[in-house]
């Protein structure tokens, strides 16, 4: 693993996450996927918002931006438009992405801009002591839901798919090889890619719902998920109430920054051909 440690700021390690937190596993999976692709450190930019998950960029030795709450995708859109040759990755949490940054998320998916979004979904706001988030399943407990959550939760992968994301996958911190494969193919996808990584929060989610520690939570995640290929063979009866993991959607389409460059090129050619020069063209109503 010393081959992946060179992607970390080792003077910052050990990290601040609780013992048994799944966010470290997801960060490790991302680094392994980048290592597999052999990307240069100078060609990768990682953006994050606020929350437990967003602390990941502090430990990664790439060009990283730690931005305001929910606006990670907005900042990443700017970075991608200014420097389309960079691989822009957003590391965000379930609250950061689905609640505070929900609009940025769906509109980035609509534009199909070349950003890879990794949503570390631990079903709860871990950093601020366990309030329920839009991803908390119905009936589960949190600090602000002492009698159980009455709200329905988002299916973020379906939301991304409906908004127009071209690559959608879901894995967990238990199924790490699958997670590495999904991030690997998401990084190669030209458009907006979403990988939802279900992660465990033993400190709040595990304790409030009496699931147990990190090991029990991982077993709970393992029992609650089924691979999308296996689900097709098993039928809807056996997979009822289980979360589908694997590659859920892959339909490449034209990418936003490439379209934008093409537009600039087209308009520039039109201006160059205009007889009256740039000023005459600009003052022309056309």
């Amino acid at each position: 693993m010393s081959d992946i440690l060179r992607y970390f700021r080792q003077d910052m390690l050990p990290h601040i996450w609780c013992p048994g937190c799944g966010h470290g596993t997801v960060t490790g999976a991302l680094v392994r996927a980048i290592d597999k692709l052999g990307l240069s450190k100078n060609k990768v930019c990682i953006v994050s918002g606020i929350g437990c998950s967003s602390r990941a960029v502090g430990y990664l030795d790439f060009d990283t931006v730690h931005t305001t709450h929910g606006r990670a995708i907005a900042f990443a859109t700017g970075i991608k438009l200014a420097r389309p040759e960079l691989t822009v990755i957003v590391m965000t949490g379930d609250g950061d992405c689905a609640a505070i940054g929900g609009n940025h998320f769906i509109h980035a998916a609509r534009r199909n801009i070349g950003i890879t979004t990794i949503v570390m979904n631990n079903n709860i706001y871990g950093m601020t002591s366990g309030q329920y988030s839009p991803m908390t399943p119905k009936g589960m407990y949190g600090t602000t839901a002492p009698y159980g959550n009455v709200e329905r939760s988002f299916d973020l992968c379906e939301l991304a798919k409906a908004s127009g994301a071209t690559y959608v996958g879901r894995a967990t911190s238990y199924h790490v090889p699958l997670l590495i494969d999904l991030i690997h193919s998401a990084l190669q996808n030209k458009g907006f890619s979403v990988v939802e990584a279900i992660s465990q929060c033993p400190t709040y989610m595990g304790r409030k719902n009496k699931i147990g520690g990190a090991v029990e939570m991982l077993e709970w995640i393992k029992d609650g998920t089924v691979n999308v290929k296996a689900a097709a063979a098993l039928g809807s009866e056996k997979t009822k109430g289980k979360i589908l993991i694997g590659e859920l959607h892959n339909a490449p389409e034209s990418e936003y920054t490439a379209d934008y460059d093409e537009l600039i090129d087209r308009v520039q050619r039109k201006y160059d051909k205009f007889q009256g020069g740039l000023y005459g063209c600009a003052s022309n109503s056309d």
Binding site: S2, L5, Q10, L13, P14, W17, C21, T25, V215
Partner: protein
């Protein structure tokens, strides 16, 4: 064809380990135990090199290597000169 059983050894970074027990619980061969709250390879001869511990460790504290194979020269924290700015390290 006589195939010798592959043997593995483990590198533990005790400073990084938080003793969350994930690697111990999910090891298929019960190679690892917790000692004084830190992971320890008690029965390394049983290891099959599946790297379940290495991949699931949230703290990057354990790695598995094949014996006889020289592990890649890593930039471990004690061999890094932190007076240099991190940009100078970018390759």
């Amino acid at each position: 064809m006589d195939e010798k059983k592959k043997e593995y050894f483990h590198i533990i970074r005790e400073r990084y380990c938080k003793g969350c027990n994930i690697c111990v619980a999910f090891c298929p061969k019960q190679v690892l135990v917790l000692k004084n709250g830190k992971v320890f390879p008690e029965r390394p001869q049983l290891c099959i090199g599946c790297r379940a511990c290495e991949l699931r460790c949230p703290d990057f504290a354990i790695e598995v290597h094949l014996k006889g194979e020289q592990p890649e020269e890593g930039r471990d924290s004690d061999s890094v000169d932190y007076t240099l700015p991190p940009e100078a390290m970018h390759g």
